[in-house]
Amino acid sequence: MINSEDILSKLEKRLGAVGTGVKKEHVGTVISNNDGVITADGLARVQMGEMVEFTMGERGVVLNLSEDSVSISLLEGGTNIREGDKVKSTGKLLSIDAGEDLLGRVIDTIGNPLDGRPKIKKGKPMPLEKIAAGVIERQPVDTPLKTGIKAIDAMIPIGRGQRQLIIGDRGLGKTAIAVDTIINQKRKVKGKKRVICIYAAIGQKQSTVSQVVDKLKAEKALDYTIVVVAGASDPASMQYLAPYAAVSIGEYFMEKGEDVLIVYDDLTKHAWAYRQLSLVLKRPAGREAYPGDIFYLHSRLLERAVRLNDKNGGGSITALPIIETQASDISAYIPTNVISITDGQIYLQPDLFNLGIRPAINPGNSVSRVGGAAQTKAIKSVSGKLRLELAQYNSLAAFAQFGSELDESTTKQLERGKRSVEILKQPQYSPLPESLEIVSIWSVTNGFLDEIPVEEVGRFEAELHEYVKTHAGKLIEKLDTGDKPDEKTLGELEKIVSEFKKGFK
């Protein structure tokens, strides 16, 4: 029976804690409104990065503090703001509310839902700007983050807590790699924590973002993904802050001990937005008109990708920043900056894409500085030879173009290389479990595909996968454990592949 006295006394207690009716405000007056940047006087005690509010409720963030005035970048609206309008400080640094309710949602930089679904419950405010975890709080990256893409998991492995750059020209499949990686996290790996994914769309077309969201929904990957959108039509300030909002949300989950994957798509547009903002704020322009702290813009963002030690919860943030190059120029300003910050890069090449090699990954120019530490023993044992064989094949293939007669071993190497290249091709939205990756790579490196015509390799692989799943379920389970396959397992694998090959037409 509900006691009305209890309810009333609780309500009275709450009212007592509500407030005394004294409101203190720190205000300024708008002097000018140019290109989304408001100059205001007053606000003498406002902090850098503090949120301010205008008369009609529009919000902005303080980005410049001068002797007599303050420059505020608008986060929303702003066409009604006129000279003489009042602006008040909120006393809070820019932050975003993070919580479990964000999973499966599409939001903007300041946390407003964009997917037409109900309002998001208020969560823990996470500051957008934060100093990254120190050296003592970290531990080395030693847990794989499986992308499900053979070329990456075998030769350029990514670990949880790593920053791996995806770089290439437009239209080569950079976003496709990121989306496939997110979809692959649907697969539960025994003994490993789930991976929460955050896709930060910066300066992208709304149609592109919509396609990505639809695909994630169709693959049931949206349930563990948060999409933060600052599209091409959003103010430069929103585009500038979007990646920081994404990493702040990631830090909320990381602090609870979870593993998080954040895709920044893409940081080139992020740099453009920051350049635009800095020029409007009249900050001195440097090389290519970028402001002097353009490196710091990305370094402080990417440093927040971290693997925490067990004392600090053991969580991690893995970052997949994307950079779009122009005419494959990886020696340009922004690409070189980000390459020097990240722990490796996946380089996509237009020649390979045009030849039908998709994903168009150039294994020669791609590297993972974490390397084998981010691989299970299983895949490490089969893929060790692959990178070297491909490098040898590429140099031989150039030589063979001259049409001279080749000896038997060279011809064999060339044929093996062609089949290795073919086996590494993979359709979009089809990430593979580790067991099937091992089956494919082991088959090609041990010569089981040497008699198969190159154009039939794709079909061979697809049918082999089906055959192994149907006839060797226990073998699949053994391979999925990640342990180095023993002689017995390798024997079983050899048997099953040989059986299939006999019946392959």
Partner: protein, 118 residues
Amino acid sequence: MNKTFLKQLIITSYKKNELNQDRILKIADRLNRKDLKKYIKGLRMAEKIRTVIVETPIDENIETKRHIQKIYADKKVVFKKNPTLMVGSKITDNDDIVEMNLRNSLESIVESIGENYD
């Protein structure tokens, strides 16, 4: 006209802590349009720093006036009547505004309910 010179002009415009009309007119006659605009803006800012505006819904009484003048001893206190304030007052000191009224209490209650209940 640089900022230092403008500051000097503004200090000179005051006599015994009050704006002196003669001095202001003399200075204004010697300035071009652009500098005059800066000068006027500077004077407004200076006056804003030196003035405290107290708004109440009713006419002020002498006791209250004396009390507030004691708190802001180094500033000029101006009293204004503002009937929109519900049972309270509003004090504007340069960039800081302190508002005490019933409306704030009601708004706080509404905000608290909104935060704590779905």
